[in-house]
């Protein structure tokens, strides 16, 4: 029997205006595409409109009251982000547009400085395109090479294989995701960071799928860089976070040039601003950063342990029910402790796009395709999968409707 969850889903659902809407055919929205982006609670939407209605102004420069209030609100979120991931200082938190931009910033500013023809960057076969392409670009530019750590069944890495691969004097950086957006596999990033550091290799963690769903502590992991996105954790689109250790950020050259990232500008030379502003040129996404602050508050109130517990329960229930379906192939770990709330699957030979279209008629929003992980698709020898992913507002009732819809798809396709 499943234990009762520590999260009151019905109460949470009331906080999300979009979950009240009806779709074509009068269906309730069953939103199971949370790995792509999550819905936003009223508190987040309100904090954004409150900013525009009451204290909209540019930050960091003007001395008037509005600027003071806006600057305070924006910088207060930076402190909350630092606390969320237990960074030593808010100076180590850089606001970007999304996780993708954060990874590109490291590739362009750090890797380009540190890589030569002789060097390598190591990633895994499980990565999202945003943790592949920036490394292809930068290694291509300097003539370095990009290596992959193979993954086994269920998306796991072989830690022995990893310690051999990091034992390479030419290796300059490891970048891996903490949780797979396709298989849900949670990788042992702490152990991997320790092994990499023993060989003086810095570690970057793509935490786009982990920070929203579990307690993540950068000092405990001891990683050198971390990237994630606000929109995957109840926050607005257009805000990403880059965390990096202070000593690394200090010696990195700036990303793009302009206002706010400078100390003094003369005709031919510029001295750059202190951290974190050195990496935030131009007017930032003030409103959405403030909205992200409200999302962090909301999640903290629920508690990350409760969130993880709830997700494990619903994932376990969904796996159990889905396994009853004949002809289903489920990818990724069987044990819920080792996975996040993401389930990729195929049902017989129904193409995922067709399945998603049928499920759409039940009001179910599900993702189909390669999930920006074509290297992984090649490894799994499939061209596409269907994917459901859960968050704090999903219920077991919704899983039951999913199962009914999948049953009806099976009948429709004569499986």
């Amino acid at each position: 029997m499943l234990q009762s969850t520590t999260i009151d889903v019905e109460k949470i659902r009331e906080d999300f205006p979009i979950l009240q809407r009806r779709l074509k055919g009068g269906h309730k929205l069953i939103y199971l595409d949370n790995a792509a982006t999550t819905q936003k609670p009223r508190a987040v939407i309100d904090s954004i409109s409150n900013y525009y209605m009451n204290y909209n102004s540019n930050i960091h420069r003007a001395v008037h009251q509005l600027a003071e209030e806006a600057t305070f609100a924006y910088e207060e979120v930076r402190r909350r982000v630092a606390k969320l991931i237990n960074a030593k200082s808010a100076d180590e938190i850089i606001f970007t547009r999304n996780a993708t931009e954060s990874i590109n910033l490291v590739a362009k500013c750090w890797a380009r400085q540190h890589l030569t023809k002789m060097n390598r960057v190591l990633i895994t076969e499980i990565e999202h395109h945003s943790n592949i392409v920036p490394w292809q670009l930068v290694t291509g530019e300097v003539g370095a090479s990009l290596d992959y750590l193979n993954i086994g069944e269920e998306g796991r890495i072989d830690i022995e294989d990893f310690s051999q691969k990091v034992n390479d004097p030419d290796l300059k950086l490891v970048s891996i995701s903490q949780m797979s957006n396709v298989l849900g596999t949670i990788l042992p990033v702490k152990k991997m960071t320790k092994l990499a550091h023993e060989k003086n290799v810095p570690m970057m963690i793509d935490a786009a799928q982990s920070v929203p769903h579990m307690k993540v502590d950068v000092q405990d992991l001891n990683c050198d860089f971390m990237a994630f996105s606000a929109h995957k954790m109840l926050g607005p689109t257009g805000v990403g976070i880059l965390y990096a250790k202070r000593e690394i950020l200090e010696e990195m050259p700036p990303f793009i040039g302009g206002g706010d990232m400078i100390k003094e500008v003369h005709k031919q030379t510029t001295s750059f601003n202190d951290l974190p502003y050195k990496f935030e040129a131009g007017t930032p996404n003030i409103a959405d950063v403030i909205g992200f602050g409200a999302a962090i508050d909301y999640l903290n109130k629920l508690g990350f342990e409760n969130i993880r517990e709830h997700e494990m329960q619903i994932t376990e229930y969904a796996l159990e029910r889905m396994n009853e379906l004949q002809g289903i192939t489920i990818y990724g770990p069987k044990v819920t402790k080792e996975r996040g709330a993401v389930i990729s699957f195929n049902l017989g030979d129904i193409h995922p796009h067709d399945l998603a279209t049928i499920l759409n008629d039940f009001g179910i929003a599900m993702r189909s395709g390669h999930h920006c992980a074509q290297v992984l698709m090649e490894r799994l020898e499939v061209s596409a999968t269907s994917r459901v992913s859960f968050y704090v507002y999903n219920s077991k009732d919704e899983v039951n409707i999913l199962i009914d819809a999948l049953q009806s798809a099976r009948r429709l396709f004569g499986l």
Partner: protein, 98 residues
């Protein structure tokens, strides 16, 4: 695709994908069989959608329905590239289907 005297004499496709993409590809091969390249140039998205009877596909699935037409038009662009660059350019423009 086999072309003789500007006429499609044979056409086959190989593909893996969803029901809409496979059905529309199969139908497209029937539509263009024994037709002149000049008339194929004129084919547009509504011809395909009408023929498969799916007139209100959303922006995501319309790509499935039009994939094969896009492939056909791009292969014609290649075919004309050296012998008739002007036609190639015209087809390329016309292949922006959505």
């Amino acid at each position: 695709m086999k072309v003789e005297d500007n006429i499609v004499k044979d056409i086959k496709f190989e593909g893996r994908g969803c029901a809409i993409s496979q059905a529309s590809a199969s139908m497209l091969t029937e539509m263009v069989m024994n037709k002149s390249l000049t008339s194929i140039k004129e084919l547009d998205k509504d011809d395909i959608l009408e023929n498969i009877g799916l007139l209100n596909l959303g922006p995501a699935r319309i790509k499935c329905a039009l994939l094969s037409l896009k492939v056909l038009k791009m292969s014609m662009v290649e075919y004309y590239a050296s012998k008739d660059p002007e036609s190639a350019q015209e087809i390329r423009e016309g292949s922006r289907l959505y």
